[in-house]
């Protein structure tokens, strides 16, 4: 309780509250603009937050992360175009409701479902914190190494149908992290005698290139298009109570999304698909799903907003990011020398609680903002595609240049921008590169410590937590192999073709 009160005191400063308001409202606007999304916004803002103190910087990013999905529901429902990709399922039932003349009802349900999803996840997270603080001392180097290894395996295997692509891109990320002067023996690795490579390839430069600059290129190379959502008539306040009739769908969404968010590397689509499928299975009217079902809408939106809270668990407790956005946030921690992991829960629990309360507050700010400004947002998001690309490109280069005032960084970011564009055009995943860089770095630091302490490989698993993590690694790989064998047999039985189904679908 003392830590909680101390956390509230940390939060009760005008800089932090202003950052929270700016992040929350900014995140809604960014989420509502199709083609931008939280990843692009966070990538652009990362360098700017380095000059702020940790809680202020982190609160802005957290605000954007937590609120962009609220904003994403707006174009998904009104113009059948999701803001961030995670709102794709919202279009299934939200847009048909708009076509039926129920846009106001769809938006109210989406906002309230998102609110309850977010608040439920944060409540669980807060209740779980004392337990995490209790378990934290049992996490040493070997446990963190194994958690990072598990994260990498899950990142690769979660890209179903693209496992080989995800694997090689994740390995590429690990490779990128090794380039430059290594910090222990001071030898050069893959610098090819180029001085500009001696300092290594900065994670932020890669992130800005892959996420922001590539998106700017995508938009600029695309056909110029201006979204024209119709304004919503009537007050959104009138339908707030309707969500209570869809408790079961929201409950399923909260639960599934929370679990999926906690598992590093599990794709957002997989998690949302599971929550949507659960709602359909348990619904009395499953046939209406995809044709404007309020239950489907609430299930997908409740699931959406439960993830930021859940994704904080591996990030704060272990220093292991579960996805690209949390990987970017991890870099903010490192820049400010705040090392997330077990010790954060032991020594700075107030800081952790301050973040939780900030997440709770952002949900309140966002829903209050949305209920009164939805029509204003429909006007703001009318930005032509190419014009938007130009703004993102300008912001990205400002962000890259401000890191070290280096034109080389801008050139490197441009190269990664083009690489990201190719990957996006070919529908290949970008996230494994970023997670490979972050988790590869964690493993490189931790493995020599583990190896130095142990005598035999079995010493790796001589503690309960490490044994559980090692068992999870084995189970995950075995489960994937089992799925492949079953798919292979089904394929043979159905068509007689000898094709590895997971890879060819």
């Amino acid at each position: 309780m003392e830590a909680f009160v101390s956390g509230l005191i940390l939060l009760a400063r005008w800089e932090v509250l202003a950052a929270l308001a700016v992040g929350s409202v900014g995140g809604v606007i960014i989420g509502a603009i199709p083609g931008v999304g939280a990843a692009v916004a966070i990538a652009i803002l990362l360098p700017a937050t380095f000059s702020l103190e940790p809680l202020v910087g982190f609160t802005i990013l957290l605000g954007i992360y937590g609120s962009s999905m609220y904003g994403g529901a707006l174009p998904a429902i009104l113009i059948n175009t999701p803001g961030p990709a995670v709102n794709a399922f919202t279009t299934y039932d939200g847009y048909p409701m708009t076509r039926r003349g129920e846009a106001r009802r769809a938006l109210t349900l989406a906002y309230t479902a998102s609110f309850f999803g977010g608040v439920f996840a944060i409540a669980c997270l807060t209740l779980l914190s004392p337990l995490l603080a209790l378990v934290a001392p049992h996490f040493g180097s070997r446990e963190i190494f194994l958690a990072a290894l598990l994260g990498i395996i899950l990142v690769v295997l979660a890209h179903r149908g693209r496992v080989f692509a995800a694997g090689m891109l994740c390995a590429f990320g690990i490779f990128l992290n090794t380039v430059g002067l290594e910090p222990v023996k001071y030898t050069r690795r893959f610098t090819f005698d180029q001085t500009w490579l001696a300092g290594g390839i900065d994670l932020i430069v890669v992130v800005l290139g892959l996420f922001a600059i590539s998106q700017a290129f995508m938009l600029m190379a695309d056909k110029d298009n201006t979204p024209h959502p119709q304004p919503v008539s009537g007050s959104l306040l009138s339908g707030l109570g309707e969500i209570l009739g869809f408790q079961a769908d929201c409950g399923g969404g909260f639960g599934l999304r929370r679990h999926d968010g906690m598992i590093p590397g599990v794709g957002e689509f997989t998690a949302q698909f599971m929550s949507y499928t659960y709602a359909r299975k348990t619904s009395k009217k499953p046939d209406e799903f995809g044709k404007g079902s309020p239950e489907g809408l609430t299930a997908s939106e409740a699931a959406n907003n439960a993830v930021p809270g859940a994704a904080m668990i591996p990030l704060l407790a272990l220093g292991i990011p579960g996805e690209a956005l949390t990987a970017m946030m991890l870099s903010v921690f490192y820049v400010h020398n705040v090392i997330p992991g077990p010790r954060l829960f032991q020594n700075q629990l107030d800081f952790v609680y301050a973040l939780y309360v900030a997440m709770l507050l952002l949900n309140v700010i966002v829903i209050a903002f949305l209920l009164f400004s939805t029509n204003l947002l429909t006007r703001i998001i009318r930005i032509p595609t190419r014009f938007l690309g130009m703004i993102i490109l300008t912001l990205s280069f400002v962000g890259v240049y401000s890191l070290r005032n280096s034109a080389t960084d801008c050139a490197v970011a441009s190269v990664f921008g083009i690489f990201g564009l190719v990957l996006k055009r070919l529908d290949l995943p970008i996230v494994p590169i970023v997670l490979g860089m972050v988790l590869g770095g964690t493993m490189e630091v931790r493995l020599p410590l583990v190896h130095g302490a142990g005598q035999t490989p079995l010493d790796f698993v001589d503690r309960p937590v490490s044994a559980i993590l090692a068992a999870l690694v084995v189970v995950v790989i075995a489960a994937h192999v089992r799925t492949l064998i079953r798919e292979h047999r089904t394929c043979l039985a159905e068509s007689g073709r000898d094709i590895h189904d997971t890879q060819s679908r």
Binding site: A48, S51, F164, M168, R188, L426, E444, P448, G452, S504
Partner: protein, 190 residues
Amino acid sequence: MRIAAGRNDVAHQGIAGFVQTISQAGDLVFAIFFLAVSLFLLARLGGQAELVKRTGTVAQPAFWPTVAVALMTGFAVPAPHRFSGVSAGRGALGGGETLDSIRQIRALVHDLYLDGCPAARLGYLPSSIVFPALLAFRLGYRAPRKLGFAAASGVTVVVLFKSLLQVKVPGGAIYETLPDAMRAFMLTYF
């Protein structure tokens, strides 16, 4: 002659068809390119990552680059076979469209450096006004209102990043020509 011409046509169609096939199979080209890069890195591993004496295997500077490059190659070897047609089934664009996009982007990046490099000497504020306006012009916007919006977006970026968030961006040489009081203000906030 006609036969020869016919053969040439067939040959031309064959080459064009081959180029088109390669161009459409963007994922296959990417997989082969990635495999080539992985093999190149694997071949250069000995010269680019050192082994240090009296150091354990996992603490060797070359350990993680070796793991990474080996994994890259390991995943890339079967990739050309696995990739072919994977992205096409997902509604992704083929290599031809990707190449078109890259050509457009290359032209834009070229302009960006032509515009951006001299502009960098102008200082943060002037270059942030000029660069988006020129980029918007290059993207096909001709209406003064749109170009004005582009320039205004540049001013907003400067106010947001430098004036408010105090991001460290050096002042341009042109600021040196300003009167003392003005110069200090511009260097600090713009």
